[in-house]
Symmetry: C2
Subunit: 325 residues, 2 copies
């Protein structure tokens, strides 16, 4: 079980350690004969170069951290899958961190960067007040979250998404549209959805009402908010939910309040992730360009890692209609 190392290969092949390393890294002058000898020795011994030793010398691990609230979510699940695919193609492996409800955990993952365990980080978590982000020029990219001034953000066009969703409900004849979103204090571009909703409502002389739902609170708590909405606003005939699972909870609450969906209440969600579309195709929603967001984040991270300055990016969204309305 003793690990096979370079030296063992060298002895087996009857060459020097340097030569084996040369073969491995394809440097310097080498004859076919020697290359074959070394390769044969490596095969016979089933040699695998120790990645950690190499990392130590190269000062690179080829690992990138992904820190999001939880991968058990249609949006983040798809996003992280897309990120992994792209990073893999570039030779990076991915360390996954789920930080929901645990700022300390988020900070621990951030430490991996300072530890030298990972080369870069893509974050989309929601915990506030982590000061370690406030370094300059860190190889970090954030998705749909404002982390610090120095860190570029990849976001979909939340303002436009907010308008699109609200417009659809207005077009469908809704008179009393209520919006849900994160608490206004959250550092996420999500607040732009709210702005889109509020501005459009004002333009139409409608009353704007936003209920706040923290992403990290448990489902029953979220469901309770929608129950409250219909209790406090029985006139409500339209809901613009800030994500698709909340849209589902809105529908449940509406039904429980004795309303028919979509006849009495229409609901528009947000995200449009693939598994949501598959499992709940009736839902009308604002679809984020998840694949493009992943691609963009990876591009930005690569530039960051190369020491280049990068700007935040905003991508377009579109409204997709539920198959039955």
């Amino acid at each position: 079980m003793a690990r096979v190392k370079l030296q063992d290969v060298a002895e087996r092949a009857g060459v020097s350690v340097t030569t084996v390393s040369r073969v491995l890294n394809n440097r310097g002058y080498l004859s076919e004969k020697t290359i074959n000898k070394v390769h044969r020795a490596m095969e016979e011994l089933n040699y695998r170069p120790n990645a950690v030793a190499r990392q130590l010398f190269k000062q690179r691990t080829n690992l990138v951290g992904l820190v999001f609230p939880t991968v058990n979510n249609p949006f983040f699940g798809q996003l992280e899958a897309e990120l992994e695919t792209r990073l893999y193609e570039l030779g990076y492996r991915v360390v996954m961190g789920n930080s929901q409800n645990d700022p300390q955990k988020e900070e621990r993952y951030l430490q991996l960067l300072f530890n030298g365990q990972i080369d870069g980080l893509i974050v989309g978590a929601h915990n506030e007040g982590i000061t370690a982000y406030h370094n300059t020029n860190l190889p970090i990219v954030s998705i749909e979250r404002i982390v610090s001034k120095q860190i570029p953000v990849v976001a979909a066009d939340n303002y436009r998404g907010g308008r699109l969703a609200t417009q659809r409900l207005l077009d469908d004849g809704c008179q009393h549209i209520i919006h849900t979103n994160y608490p206004a204090s959250s550092s996420t571009p999500n607040q732009e959805r709210r702005r889109g909703y509020e501005e459009l409502m004002e333009e139409h002389g409608r009353q704007k009402i936003t209920y706040e739902i923290s992403f990290d609170s448990p489902d029953p708590e979220k469901a309770a908010v929608f129950t409250r909405i219909f209790a406090e606003h029985p006139e409500c005939d339209g809901i613009f939910a800030d994500n698709d699972t909340n849209a589902r909870l809105a529908i449940n609450a509406a039904v429980q309040a004795g309303k028919r969906v979509p006849e009495d209440v229409k609901v528009v969600g947000y995200d449009g992730a693939s598994s949501t579309r598959l499992l709940f195709p009736d839902l009308t929603t604002i679809q984020q360009p998840i694949a493009e967001m992943a691609q963009t984040a990876v591009d930005l991270l690569q530039k960051r890692l190369a020491g280049q300055a990068v700007e935040s990016v905003t991508l377009p969204v579109k409204l997709v209609s539920g198959i039955t309305g």
Copy 2:
């Protein structure tokens, strides 16, 4: 930007490198005064011990690989989230690999183990014929997949799940129940679901029909199978799908074939992951104990890492009814 290392801390604190290392690892005799001096120096320099150097010496990375088809899936998403949570508590970080449709990628992740980049592996992928698994006593645990004789499997009771699902459809009066599952050649305990279905059908003197759907094929291809089912078997009034997303596709196909669900065709799914339950609460399904499966897999892996022999484990499943039938 030059990395701060042990030696810098030692100089700053006016002690030897060994002493700093002793403080870090809490070994040997140390005075309060020295400990404080060293800690102050570490803070002033913002010292972070290099994890890779430590890994090289300790021959441990505290990283565990998770290799599943894709995290963009309600079942695997929840499973991987649960695994990350538990492994994190034990001090492990998690490397995520999505291997769908790519045996070579699965093999690459397996190589991380032989590279020394990860300490252990939890796999649930479906690619066949990867010979590297056939080593003895590797720190690998598999979930719902038979990898090799030496590797323990954590599975839910698939046979019983198959019977439960079929029984429910029989109880609901279905006469012609069709099942879908992976190709019979797949090395997964999924085949036990099929056995449960087939045996129960035989016991009731019914005809058993199983259509095969590869997990890794694209959604339209899967949907086409269900379309074919209703074309070839217009009498079909019950579907036992091997997972919940396929159950959704079955329902879509039934509706497209002019059938009403559940009046004309009843569907039972499999998995019962949290986001599926949330987004598609109407579905009756066999619920796998995902949290327990994650916990068990982590327990087994820990024992493997400690060099202990372990046995495969089977956990119970239960049927959960859709809220509207």
